[in-house]
């Protein structure tokens, strides 16, 4: 054996000098991984690691979590409030008092001149539940605008809407433990290994112990599609047709759970009548999946002792998103796969606290899954907050995607954005720019001063990020987990909770209502308001949550721990406690490829990106995996157009154009391209974002485009480099 040196030198290995690990929960996606951040002697965050005993991630983290400690000092953070009179003036630094006084004054002035709803608020899925609740209190209870929504409209709105339509309430009924019990897993429009690698790992662990069929439905050959037992490369925007056809086969062949349907559902007859029209042959001609495969999948699913469906944006970001969710619920209701181990409709949520905003932010209603439309709910909250019940509108106002058009045409004059970046995230960037220019007053509250939307703001409020604060997130499986404070807020940035509280003080009504200062005191209000409800928090506390590494609601005062599944008793949240089977007629309103625009444009996320890259784009060890916008394109299609691997191509749609680098791969169909959507001034310049009629979620994943080689590769390359600079 060859050793080189017999007399060996001591070994040096990088040592970050961690002296203390602090418990927290990851602030990227909604998997909800428990993380410990390592602090060195100087108190600097220098390392991250998964928490071994946390049920969700069992010590694992994805690449974003692995580098999450680097966020605290990442480039582009906001240091101090900034103000200017017009968006094209230069910013001037301001004190918090001056900035908040200005915000309060502008809100009041706009509301006095143009009515309470002329000032809109668009929030996020990124901040803590306690902050969402406080913002809701401020928006609904103090400012009193009905045009208040979250950017969850861009990600999970269809799931929310579908759950509400089927089950009478939002709230994913399943959990990750269902992987350990299911006998068949159907994934529609979910690229689990890329978007939620740790959930994929949980699935993989279950599969290592026990094999069960995994069926992936996706127009793109993702790694998940490749790992699956069956991959159904569906035609974009036709999921509802396939789901109807699956139900058709199940009912036609008598494979349904008749007893469950009769005991726990309404609408079976109308539903049966509608799906009768979607025989596999008819469906195959629309959705591109052959009739044998449709029958085969339907039979496997229905004959499994338990079967579950997971989905993400492939369903949600479609003009039939809400219908798609309902279709999945229909499938699980007729096979009796709700509320039992391994049988569920589990939406794999996007943002870290999309669930928290759905539960507590009052965006679509009132705290704790209460509705503005219900008098009792309005009364409960008005009494608890100590305000007049009549202060609440009786119907929810505009969704995020309707707020922008209302700005465009002048009904809304002022806007407050919290941790969201519509300049990059909304479809049709050019229209959003034009819209933002029209605002009399725009406040951007964000951890990053270089968030692109800040280009149009009048006041910028620098927010603290993630574990610079304290509070809770709820994950995909309804698990409430704790973010404990790890480091102090950067420079003169402040916790969102503090900002909301300080702003509340600047309104007369805000001084009358109690706005607790600490997150745990706010949490006590959540416990009180959720007592006895489906999303019961009353048995939780920050301490107990931390001790258990997260608790799944409902957790009542009597419960020691949380609840894995909802609807185990077959009782749903509709008035009559039944779930609804809903007939879903399919109208093909997708912008389909045609002679002028011959390619399907599909968009999505890649594992190293998150939330318009305000964070992930700053960390070299994440960003390096895709530092510049690119497009996956089929080599056969590219050859005809003279487009080369690694060159630049220009895409045009009915909205505008975008230039991207080309990656040739057979992962996409010859008539389809895929572009990651978190790059600024990229795919959303050309996306359509047709709105779902129920959820108002934009269809980011279906549009038609034309493609050509960039006229000058050198100019394209130069422009690309310039537009990536910060």
């Amino acid at each position: 054996m060859l050793f080189g040196r017999n007399k060996k030198n001591p070994i040096k290995i990088a040592d970050k000098g961690v002296v203390e690990w602090k418990y927290t929960t990851c602030g990227y996606c909604s998997t909800g991984c428990s993380i410990e951040v390592g602090l060195d002697k100087a108190g600097e965050a220098v390392a991250s690691r998964g928490v071994g005993g946390a049920d969700v991630n069992r010590g694992k983290l994805c690449l974003k979590g692995i580098f999450e400690h680097e966020l605290f000092r990442s480039a582009g953070r906001g240091k101090t409030p900034l103000m200017r009179d017009r968006y094209f003036d230069d910013f001037k630094e301001a004190s918090w008092d001056t900035a908040l006084d200005k915000v309060a004054a502008e809100i009041s002035s706009i509301q006095q001149q143009h009515g309470p709803d002329a000032f809109a608020i668009v929030s996020t899925g990124q901040i803590m539940t306690e902050e969402f609740y406080t913002l809701g209190k401020l928006a609904r209870g103090v400012i009193g605008t009905n045009n208040y929504d979250g950017n969850t409209t861009l990600c999970m709105a269809s799931a929310v809407s579908g759950y509400k339509r089927s089950f009478g309430s939002d709230g994913p009924p399943g959990c990750y433990d269902d992987f350990e019990h299911t006998e068949c897993l159907l994934a529609i429009g979910s690229n689990l290994p890329e978007q939620h690698p740790v959930i994929y790992w949980r699935l993989k662990q279950a599969l290592e112990k026990r094999r069960f069929p995994v069926i992936v439905i996706d127009p793109r050959v993702t790694m998940f599609a490749q790992m699956a037992d069956m991959h159904l490369p569906i035609t974009p925007g036709t999921d509802v047709v396939l789901l109807n056809a699956l139900a058709h086969v199940i009912l036609d062949e008598g494979l349904e759970d008749r007893a469950y349907i009769e005991a726990h559902t309404d609408g079976a007859q109308e539903f049966a009548a509608l799906v009768a029209e979607y025989d596999p042959l008819t469906a195959s001609r629309i959705c591109g999946i052959d009739e044998d495969t449709i029958r085969n999948v339907a039979r496997i699913y229905a004959k499994s002792g338990s079967a579950m469906t997971i989905w993400t944006m492939g369903i949600n970001q479609s003009t039939h998103g809400s219908d798609g969710v309902v279709g999945i619920n229909n499938l699980n209701l007729i096979t009796g796969n709700i509320g039992k181990p391994g049988g569920t409709s589990l939406s794999i949520t996007g943002q870290c606290n999309a669930m928290g905003t759905r539960e507590w932010s009052s965006c679509s209603g009132l705290p704790g899954y209460r509705l503005l439309e219900k008098q009792q709910d309005r009364k409960d909250i008005a009494d608890f907050w100590g305000i007049d019940e009549e202060f609440f509108p009786k119907k929810r106002g505009l969704f995020q995607t309707d707020i922008f058009p209302a700005i465009e045409t002048g009904q809304i004059k002022g806007l407050w954005l919290i941790a969201t970046n519509p300049m990059t995230s909304m479809p049709n960037t050019a229209r959003i720019r034009k819209t933002l220019e029209k605002l009399d007053f725009l406040v951007v509250q964000d951890a990053y001063a270089d968030v692109e939307t800040n280009e149009y703001s009048h006041v910028y409020l620098p927010a603290a990020i993630w574990a610079e604060k304290e509070g809770c997130f709820t994950n995909t499986e309804r698990r409430v987990n704790l973010i404990s404070n790890v480091v102090k807020p950067y420079e003169n940035s402040k916790a969102d909770l503090w900002i909301f509280n300080q702003l509340a003080k600047r309104f007369e009504q805000g001084r009358k209502i109690r706005f607790p200062e600490s997150a745990s005191a706010v949490f006590d209000e959540l416990r009180h308001l959720s007592k006895g409800r489906m999303l019961d928090y009353s048995g939780m506390s920050h301490q107990k949550i931390k001790a258990q590494r997260g608790i799944q609601w409902p957790c009542s005062e009597a419960d020691e721990t949380g609840t894995a599944r909802l609807y185990t008793d077959g009782k749903f949240q509709h008035e009559n406690a039944k779930a609804r089977l809903i007939a879903l007629p399919f109208v093909d309103n997708n912008e389909r490829p045609d002679e002028d625009y011959p390619f399907w444009l599909n968009t999505g996320r890649v594992v190293e990106h998150f939330h318009t890259r305000t964070r992930t784009g700053k960390l070299g060890n994440l960003n390096k995996f895709s530092p510049t916008p690119y497009m996956e394109m089929n080599p056969d299609a590219a050859r005809e157009l003279g487009i080369h691997h690694g060159g630049y191509a220009r895409l045009t749609s009915r909205r505008g154009d975008a230039v991207v680098m080309v990656q040739l791969t057979h992962r996409v169909a010859p008539n389809s391209v895929f572009i990651p959507f978190h790059f600024h001034e990229c795919v959303n310049r050309i996306s359509l974002g047709l709105l779902d009629p129920h959820s108002r979620q934009p269809a980011f994943k279906q549009a038609a485009v034309k493609i050509e080689a960039a006229a000058s590769q050198a100019v394209a390359a130069k422009n690309n480099a310039t537009s990536r600079t910060y």
């Binding site: 050793f3 030198n9 580098f67 890329e194 050959v221 931390k546 390096k624 995996f625 990536r724």
Partner: protein
């Protein structure tokens, strides 16, 4: 609630999960290459010692501590989630432009019957570590503990030779620091009973770690090869694979390397082939690229050292071949030639030294003379330089009787001194030249790994040696001596014929080599096609010119002009030839991803200025 770290096992987390612990396994005695897996027994002097990691003097009591460990990669399962790479970079605190572990991929098939094969690769801690053998400074050590091959950046002087010889792109030359660093097998975690950070971070059941030649739980295969992975014969790497899923017959790389992998009908193994679809078959000059490569120092050093060695050897040995005129020509202008050669040689040495990441550590170049051809080359060349300088000084002092040397030392002593220095210089020259050739015969660099490297270097030695003598001696005497030119032309002609023979066979053999060798040949006829043609033309012209001189003599008319033109042409041809030698080599490499570890993208990022942003992960020029 925060806990203070436990210094004894600070990597061990609360509720540490079973996947993170080194697993017990039944270990065979020998690995598939016939090597003992137990590296030393417990009584060996190497056993029972602390690794002294960061000043920690503890010794792990792990039962398999002296068995060869390695990675296990289940290619069926890898999803390219980057968790392994990131866990590695986080633990080792690496900047964005550099990584010890990288995931690249191959893809094949047509939509929707498409397959992507992801490959996560770091150091394979080989049985036969070519990095360790190649490193001139002895920065590498193979430890009896776990069989880890560790590299010490504090010893390394940043020559990058290990990055040339490693087939897996494991050693990373960090241009910002001027040294190499690489995967350390997380021996600090191993000492605490835990798998390396990458293996513990895997989210897909793909990457694992343990005693080599053991199959992890739930896995079926112990393969030594998968498509895209180089032949294990070169280094006997300690990595084992599972790859059971059928793949398309043709697997393509997404990075810019125009190589694909084709399944052979008989063996089912995948062989590297030229991927013509990525290649541009037009002919170019690409002179800028040709003459401004990172390897410029090598061009200057090899050409200058070979010229000087050649001149000296001819001076000493030509009379033995009946070419006395060369020696006498040298002697006539000894001082001028000596000073010129000395200056030329110094220039080459200085260029080469400055090319190191840490030039101040140049003296470490001999450290690994027992194993490294590079060390031996440096030693040989240095010996030559000392001998040559000594010989020159003795001769000059004697010729000009400087410091009345002829009176101080008697002629016998001077003779002995002269002899000793000459012997030293000749042996240094032979050793230096031999290992200068040897160090380029690298299996992962098919373009160099051919006897043409030898023929080319020997040819340059002869041709430039002869030309140097003629040039300086003629300049010094301001006249042309036909006899000297005639004899020098004989030597140079032999050199050119040798070069030509080498090139012809080389080109033929490269075409037969299907992978990177074929790509090198393709590039030499396309991307650098015009330069290649020009060099070949000049070579032919020079051969004709020299033949005329040898067989018909130099015509009196325009003799000076003809000689000068011919010499210039010889020099240009040698320069282009040597530049081509460095620019055309295509190392076998692990497949990259579309951006990360993609040479094409890196170059694009540098050209367009993207690389100026650190978050792009490409170091600017």
């Amino acid at each position: 609630m925060s806990e203070t770290i436990k210094p004894e096992k600070y990597f061990l987390r609360d509720d540490e999960q079973s996947y993170a612990f080194l697993a017990d396994a039944i270990v065979p005695e020998k690995n598939c290459y016939g090597k003992e897996i137990q590296l030393v027994d417990e009584n060996n002097q190497l056993a029972g010692k602390s690794l002294h990691i960061n000043g920690d003097s503890s010794v792990s009591d792990y039962a398999d501590r002296y068995k060869q460990h390695g990675f296990y990669f289940n290619a069926d399962n890898c999803i390219s989630c980057h968790a392994c790479e990131s866990a590695c970079s986080e633990k080792n605190d690496l900047p964005a432009h550099l990584a010890y572990r990288a995931v690249g991929y191959l893809e094949g098939g047509s939509y929707p019957s498409y397959s992507r094969l992801n490959i996560s690769m770091a150091c394979n801690h080989c049985d036969d570590p070519v990095c360790l053998k190649g490193c001139p400074t002895r920065a590498y050590t193979k430890f009896a503990e776990y069989g880890a091959v560790l590299q010490d950046p504090d010893i390394c002087f940043g020559c990058g030779y290990c990055t040339w010889v490693c087939p897996y792109n494991a050693p990373q030359l960090d241009m910002t620091k001027g040294h190499v660093h690489k995967c350390n097998m997380c021996v600090d975690r191993l000492e605490q009973g835990l798998k390396p950070a990458c293996a513990a971070a895997c989210l897909a059941g793909a990457l694992d770690f343990g005693v080599t030649e053991t199959t992890p739980e739930n896995r079926q295969q112990l393969k030594t090869q998968i498509p895209g992975f180089p032949s294990p014969d070169i280094t006997h790497p300690n990595i084992r694979f599972q790859q059971t899923k059928s793949l398309p017959n043709e697997m393509r790389r997404t990075d810019s390397v125009a190589v694909k992998y084709q399944r052979s009908g008989s063996s089912g193994e995948y062989q590297a082939e030229l991927d013509i679809s990525k290649a541009d078959s037009a002919k170019y000059w690409n002179l800028k690229k040709l003459l401004s490569s990172h390897e410029n120092a090598h061009i200057i050093f090899t050409l200058s050292s070979q010229a000087v060695i050649g001149a000296f050897l001819l001076y000493m040995l030509a009379p033995l071949l009946g070419l006395e005129k060369i020696s006498s020509g040298f002697n006539q202008a000894f001082l001028e030639i000596f000073i010129s050669l000395f200056a030329l040689f110094s220039l080459g040495m200085i260029k080469l030294n400055l090319h190191l990441g840490k030039p101040q550590r140049f003296y470490r170049g001999f450290n690994n003379w027992r194993l490294s051809p590079l060390s031996r080359e440096i030693a040989g060349v240095s010996l030559f330089f000392i001998g040559f300088a000594g010989f020159g000084l003795v001769t000059v002092f004697e010729q000009y009787n400087i410091l009345a040397i002829q009176q101080v030392l008697n002629s016998k002593v001077l003779r002995v001194l002269s002899m000793l220095t000459a012997v030293l210089a000749i042996s240094g020259a032979v050793i230096g030249l031999y290992y200068m050739i040897k160090l380029y015969l690298i299996p992962t660099r098919p373009y160099w790994n051919h006897w043409q490297t030898a023929s080319s270097f020997v040819s340059t030695t002869l041709v430039l040696g002869a030309v140097s003598i003629v040039l300086v001696s003629s300049l010094a005497s301001r006249q042309i001596e036909p006899a000297l030119i005639h004899q020098a032309a004989i030597v140079a002609l032999c050199g050119l014929l040798l070069e030509a023979a080498g090139l012809i066979v080389h080109a033929r053999d490269l075409k037969k080599n299907k992978g990177e060798g074929a790509l090198s040949h393709f590039e030499q006829t396309t991307r650098f096609g015009n330069a290649y043609v020009l060099r070949n033309l000049l070579l032919a012209l020079n051969t004709v010119g020299l033949s005329i001189i040898v067989f018909a003599g130099l015509t009196e008319n325009y003799a000076v002009l003809t000689a000068l033109l011919l010499m210039a042409s010889i020099f240009i041809s040698a320069l282009i030839g040597r530049a081509l030698f460095y620019v055309l080599v295509v190392p076998t490499s692990m497949p990259g991803a579309f951006f990360w570890r993609n040479k094409g993208f890196q170059q694009h990022a540098r050209e367009t200025g993207l690389a100026k942003m650190q978050q792009v992960g490409v170091l600017p020029d």
